[in-house]
């Protein structure tokens, strides 16, 4: 009458796997699905947070690694200005820690000033300073202040500026985004913890009958607790791992086929690229799996102890 297949066909009279809790029944499977889904969400949130952080870092690094040299027109003839510009470029090229130097064309200069000076024909006549865009070597950037001192001395009317103003603003933004990511991750982790603890407890509750019978035939509490732990360790760990692996696969897919170059690169760096970034990702994911498994184990263990202690008190 039961849906269970008729019990013939098992080979030997042994305890399969030597674990005497039911292998898989609906509540345990629900627990496993909950573990998978919640660990998946947590792993996605952590990965997304890291990718956002990294995007901000990249942007920040881009801004930080840029500087500008300005050469004032003073009262020189255009040719003299050009000479001074060439001199600055020569000096910059000879400095360590600078990756590239580029003289902005007159048009670029004008475009940059347009928001403030307007699209007047006048700009052509105004003595605007010439700008040189400098890209620093990110790993070993040149010291901007020293450079500024040098250039000031060597070339009349020239100086070097870092984009310090922007960096400050971006740091603020990055900090906000960072905290937001942590908050999201914390929220999901909390939700996951509640759900997983509950599901583990429920899965165990539905084994109450089995636990009672084990107790009645003389099993020690330690033995029963060990059986429960074995079952939940295995079921919980594998399910949590499955969730994280799915998240990994999705990010891996993003690393290859995301439409945006930035996302592709971010996912790639997070998973396979920069050793430190990848390590951080994998450690966090491992922590998620371990934490989820631990929570479910602890929840199941507490439940089994409560069942054992409340058993046979009265009625």
């Amino acid at each position: 009458m039961s849906a269970r297949p008729s019990g013939w066909g098992r080979a030997g009279p042994v305890f399969a796997g030597r674990n005497i809790l039911p292998r898989a029944h609906a509540p345990l499977r629900t627990f496993m699905v909950a573990m998978t889904v919640m660990c998946f969400l947590a792993a996605m949130a952590a990965g997304g947070m890291f990718m956002t952080w990294q995007a901000i870092d990249t942007w920040k690094a881009g801004v930080v690694s840029e500087a500008t040299a300005q050469i004032l027109p003073l009262d020189d003839s255009p040719e003299d200005v050009k000479k001074r510009v060439d001199e600055v470029v020569r000096l910059l090229r000879g400095t360590e820690g600078i990756r590239s130097v580029r003289v902005l064309s007159m048009k670029e200069n004008r475009d940059l000033l347009k928001p403030w000076l307007g699209q007047f024909g006048l700009l052509d006549d105004l003595p605007v300073p010439r700008l040189v865009a400098i890209t620093l070597d990110r790993k070993n950037p040149a010291n901007i202040e020293a450079l500024d001192g040098l250039i000031r001395v060597k070339v009349r009317g020239a100086r070097v500026d870092a984009h310090g103003h922007w960096v400050l603003q971006l740091s603020d933004m990055a900090r906000t985004a960072g905290w937001l990511g942590v908050a999201i991750l914390a929220g999901i982790a909390l939700a996951a913890a509640i759900l997983v603890a509950w599901a583990a407890r429920a899965a165990l509750e539905s084994n109450r009958e089995t636990i009672e019978v084990l107790h009645l035939v003389g099993a020690r509490d330690r033995f029963i607790a060990r059986q429960v732990e074995k079952r939940f360790l295995r079921a919980g760990f594998l399910s949590a791992l499955a969730g994280v692996v799915v998240a990994f696969l999705i990010f891996a897919l993003l690393a290859f086929i995301a439409p945006s170059e930035g996302i592709r690169e971010g996912a790639w760096n997070m998973l396979f690229g920069d050793r430190q970034l990848a390590l951080r990702t994998y450690v966090t994911w491992a922590v998620i799996v371990i934490a989820a498994t631990t929570i479910s184990l602890a929840s199941a263990r507490t439940a089994v102890i409560r069942i054992l202690q409340n058993m046979f008190r009265q009625g």
């Binding site: 039961s2 009279p13 009958e209 084990l214 099993a219 009625g315």
Partner: protein, 224 residues
């Protein structure tokens, strides 16, 4: 061996099911427990297998007062007591063999040590062909026999059987009773709760305990 002194039991705020139960069962004794349905036979057995604490009174088993026995000593006590539950209490996800071998398994014994003994016992109760079947596909009588096998497989010093022959034919009932008598001869104290008067007649040496209106009366009977 088993000594009750003024034991009383009530469930929750209900009426007192057992009142002032006092008796002593010597080691190696054999007793039938009868009484009308709902009299409290199962309740009395539950007291003996530590499945229920009495509302009042003292219960001594194996020379210890089980009302004050700490929880951690329960498993040791339980391993000396075999119980056939009225509703069998087999685990549906284990095979008949595994169910019967459960007391040995939780005792830490290895399947290779007890496999032969268990199979022999299963054959004796007529379940040799069903060792690998799961309880949900067993017939009522087969489940009952599996429950009996599980209760006696550990050679307990006390055997408590609650209506152990309610689902089997008279011939099989007598065969199972022989099993209990044999066990009793080897030194096990046996208490069988039953309605089956033929079973009572088949073991004339047994003492008969009757519960009626919460009180226990006991025939003298002779130890074997």
């Amino acid at each position: 061996m088993i000594r009750f002194e003024n034991v009383g039991v009530r469930y929750g705020n209900g009426p007192e099911i057992l009142r002032d139960i006092s008796f002593e069962l010597e080691e190696g004794g054999f007793a039938f427990l009868t009484g009308p349905s709902g009299a409290g036979k199962t309740t009395l057995l539950r007291l003996m297998y530590l499945g229920l604490r009495p509302t009042r009174g003292l219960i001594h088993m194996f020379g210890e007062d089980i009302a004050t026995l700490p929880r951690r000593r329960f498993p040791d006590m339980r391993r000396r007591i075999g119980v056939v539950f009225q509703d069998f209490r087999l685990l549906d996800h284990l095979t008949t063999f595994e169910n019967v071998a459960l007391p040995l398994f939780v005792d830490g014994k290895r399947p290779s040590e007890y496999a032969d003994d268990v199979m022999e016992l299963l054959s004796w109760v007529g379940l040799g062909d069903h060792a690998n079947a799961y309880p949900p596909v067993l017939s009522g009588g087969e489940k009952q026999r599996a429950a009996i096998a599980r209760a006696i497989v550990g050679k307990p010093r006390v055997l408590l059987a609650d209506e152990p022959t309610g689902n089997v034919d008279p011939a099989l009932a007598r065969r199972l009773l022989r099993l209990f008598v044999e066990l009793n001869r080897l030194g096990t104290t046996v208490v069988i709760a039953t309605h089956d008067h033929q079973l009572l007649n088949a073991a004339p040496q047994a003492r008969i305990m009757t519960i009626r209106d919460g009180r226990l009366t006991m025939t003298a009977g002779g130890t074997p």
